[in-house]
């Protein structure tokens, strides 16, 4: 399966796991987790430089950008204008035109405001951005994002950081069936089987942060996720057996001794 790579906007990635950079116990642990995960794309937030305290170590000192592609996000933006402005700053800071577009609709659920999201997507696509929008598991919205020029759609599996796993598998399956761009399940993964399951549904990739950064052993969980994503992808391609209500013998029912 060496040739089964993730391709977004013409760029090829070795791993179908997209990893975050937030909430790790330390930058050193993050670096180890990134290494263990095998991921080659990581999300970063765009934030004001801390003027008062310049001692703070820089995140980038812990990321080998020759191996890890940076995907700036617009987390914390509550309307299209804020998101567009943040995306532009991210482009300057990162010297890349990719953006994980977030337009949040509400603080408690951190669910996206899809109407603003579609608007911001259209604006940024016109400006030459490669836009990866974080959205709900809504096939209609995903189609609109695609029509607006999104390079992938990133439906959530569950609320950000909730660890609830894929709440609506049927929607993810339908989105995969209808989309002509990669479908990346973003948010909601809590443990390895959630990631495997997402991939078995046909997701092209999974983006996660808290599930790894918040685990008791982030490095071990990162390695776990590396395997979980591979397992799910391979199972999707291999074609699982059908479900049956009853049993079917694995061993021959003839040639039994003494019968």
């Amino acid at each position: 399966m060496a040739s089964d790579h993730l391709v977004i906007a013409g760029k090829t990635f070795q791993s179908r796991l997209i990893i975050g950079t937030g909430k790790y116990p330390s930058n050193a642990v993050m670096a180890k987790a990134h290494e263990a995960s095998g991921a080659d794309m990581a999300t970063v937030a765009v934030r004001r430089v801390n003027i008062s305290d310049r001692t703070k170590e820089s995140l980038l000192d812990y990321i080998d950008t020759s191996k890890m592609f940076l995907l700036p996000n617009t987390a914390g933006c509550y309307n299209a204008d804020e998101a567009v402005r943040t995306a532009r700053l991210g482009r300057e800071a990162g010297l890349s035109n990719w953006v994980k577009l977030e337009v949040i609709g509400d603080e408690k659920t951190l669910f996206p405001d899809n109407e603003e999201l579609v608007k911001a997507t259209a604006v940024l696509v016109r400006e030459g951005f490669v836009v990866l929008p974080y959205t709900t598991d809504d096939p209609i919205v995903c189609r609109k994002l695609e029509d607006a020029g999104a390079s992938a759609v990133m439906p959530l599996g569950a609320p950000i950081g909730s660890g609830l796993g894929i709440q609506n598998p049927n929607n993810i399956r339908i989105i995969r069936e209808f989309s002509r761009v990669p479908v990346i399940v973003d948010a909601g993964v809590g443990t390895a089987s959630d990631a495997t399951f997402a991939m078995e549904l046909g997701a092209d990739a999974v983006l996660m942060n808290t599930a790894i950064a918040g685990a008791q052993d982030p490095v071990a969980m990162a390695e776990s996720m590396k395997y979980a994503i591979r397992a799910g992808r391979l199972a999707y391609l291999a074609g699982r057996i059908p479900r049956k209500m009853y049993a079917t013998a694995s061993s021959p029912v003839e040639g039994l001794v003494g019968r």
Binding site: G20, K23, A45, R54, G90
Partner: protein
């Protein structure tokens, strides 16, 4: 000769700096590595190549951002 002081708004907070000053000199005075930040001057992105000739004047608003951990 003497230096004038300009009152600017930097990342949302008021700041007095010797000026008018270029973005490049402003960053240096703040000990910020210019290669790792993005700068917005009066709501307009400042391309890195323009850091030298972009002058921050009295009353201007400047945003200096970089990457932080996120998901």
């Amino acid at each position: 000769m003497f230096t004038k002081i300009v009152h600017i708004t930097l990342n949302g907070d008021p700041l007095d700096v010797p000026g008018p000053v270029s973005v490049t000199r402003l960053l240096k005075s703040l000990e910020i590595d210019a290669r790792r930040v993005a700068v917005e001057h009066n709501l307009v992105i400042v391309k890195r190549a323009a850091f030298d000739e972009t002058i921050v004047n009295d009353g201007d608003t400047v945003e200096i951002v970089n990457f932080a951990g996120g998901g």
